[in-house]
């Protein structure tokens, strides 16, 4: 609650023309926004452009922010929209590049066989998430990696709880199909 009040105070200060308040907002949320963008775009690592665009949009839209939802939820909504737009614009290129990039990078870093095997497994999991349709990928990332609550996710994605549950179930099914063998190995 105290956090929300502090954020509201920052927004008010920004509305009154205090730029340092915006810097405070960036400082609080930049890491979360970058992490979410990185996951939604399939772990490309360099997400500077998206983060810049998100905060540019936030800068122009913050005066209209009513405070109906949390500032973090609002920024996450912008991030999800930015990532959707980016994926639509050059989805194919990102997907193929991202898949190619995983192996050499990780294999070069790890020398031990076990570590290399682990890396390959993790790369496979990331590929499975990337292969999900965007709407399923979003719910998986928001629920399991960002750890958002159901209500917050629904607010963020603009969908009902039922729709969210359906998406989550289907996403899990698809992940089970592509990673089932891996789970057997683990168990």
């Amino acid at each position: 609650m105290a956090k929300m009040i502090a954020e509201q105070a920052l927004v008010e200060r920004f509305r009154r023309g205090d730029d340092s308040a915006f810097d405070g907002i960036v400082q609080r949320h930049a890491a979360d926004v970058a992490a979410l963008a990185n996951r939604l775009l399939g772990w490309p690592q360099d997400v500077d452009d998206v983060v810049q665009d998100v905060f540019l949009a936030a800068f122009t839209g913050l005066r209209k922010f009513r405070g109906d939802c949390g500032l973090r939820t609002w920024l996450f909504t912008i991030t999800v929209n930015m990532c959707r737009r980016r994926q639509r614009r050059r989805g194919f290129r990102i997907r193929t590049m991202a898949i190619d990039e995983d192996c050499p990078d990780l294999c070069a870093e790890e020398s031990a066989e076990r570590a290399a095997m682990d890396n390959e497994t993790f790369a496979r999991i990331r590929r499975a998430v990337r292969a999900l349709p965007p709407k399923y990928g979003e719910v998986v990332v928001l629920r399991y990696l960002q750890g958002l609550e159901t209500s917050e996710m629904c607010e963020l994605l603009g969908i009902t709880v039922n729709a969210m549950q359906v998406r989550l179930t289907r996403a899990r099914e698809q992940l089970r199909e592509s990673l089932g063998e891996l789970i057997e190995e683990k168990t």
Binding site: Q45, R126, I183
Partner: protein
């Protein structure tokens, strides 16, 4: 596969991918970017309008059917002139856009350099820190010489060296203190030695 398993697998995979990379975002930079966007948004339609006007002018200058046809050479020359004007306008607009973009790049670079500069420590402070560290290490070594090796002379030399080389440091004060202690000990010890010299030597037979 239950939810917990999926979550744990995804978290591991995410952790293995490493943290994302992104640059600093500041309100000042965003304001600049917005200003540049606005200027581009104004310049581009202005250029388009200029080109359109030129096109309309060109169209109007077209000879009407009832008018006697102008000399072909004159018409070609006039068309060439108009094309040149159009080209120059387009070039001007393009130059403007490129200048704005170059300026934006420069400012981003400048901001990054300023950040780097801010992260570099002050050289004078760094030197002072290194000097203090060296003085501290010397005093520590001298203390060990006395304590563990009983090499008081070498330790005294080292303390003096510290006082000479780093007179303003805190370790120099410590070195002075140590020297004073050593001198006091010697002073106390030397009269005792004098007394012992004066004392009659006890031969083993007298015992």
């Amino acid at each position: 596969m239950n939810e917990e398993q999926i979550k744990s697998l995804l978290e591991d995979a995410d952790r293995a991918a490493g943290p994302p990379q992104y640059g600093a975002v500041r309100a000042r930079d965003i304001r600049l970017r917005l200003r540049r966007r606005r200027s581009i948004a104004i310049a581009a339609p202005a250029a388009a309008a200029a080109i359109l006007l030129c096109g309309v002018a060109l169209w109007n200058r077209r000879p009407h059917p009832q008018e006697p046809a102008a000399e072909p050479q004159e018409r070609i020359a006039s068309l060439e002139e108009q094309v040149r004007q159009l080209q120059s306008q387009t070039e001007t607009t393009m130059r403007l856009v490129q200048e704005v973009l170059a300026k934006e790049r420069q400012e981003r670079r400048l901001a990054a350099l300023q950040d780097e500069l801010a992260s570099i420590p002050d050289p004078a402070q760094e030197l002072q820190r290194q000097a203090d560290k060296t003085a501290f290490v010397l005093v520590y070594q001298a203390d060990r010489m006395i304590r563990e090796l009983n090499q008081t002379e070498s330790a005294v030399e080292t303390y003096e060296q510290v006082i000479r080389l780093f007179p303003q440091s805190r370790s120099a004060d410590v070195a002075r203190e140590r020297l004073a202690q050593i001198r006091n000990q010697r002073f106390k010890k030397s009269p005792m030695e004098g007394e012992s010299r004066c004392e009659p030597h006890k031969s083993p037979s007298s015992v």
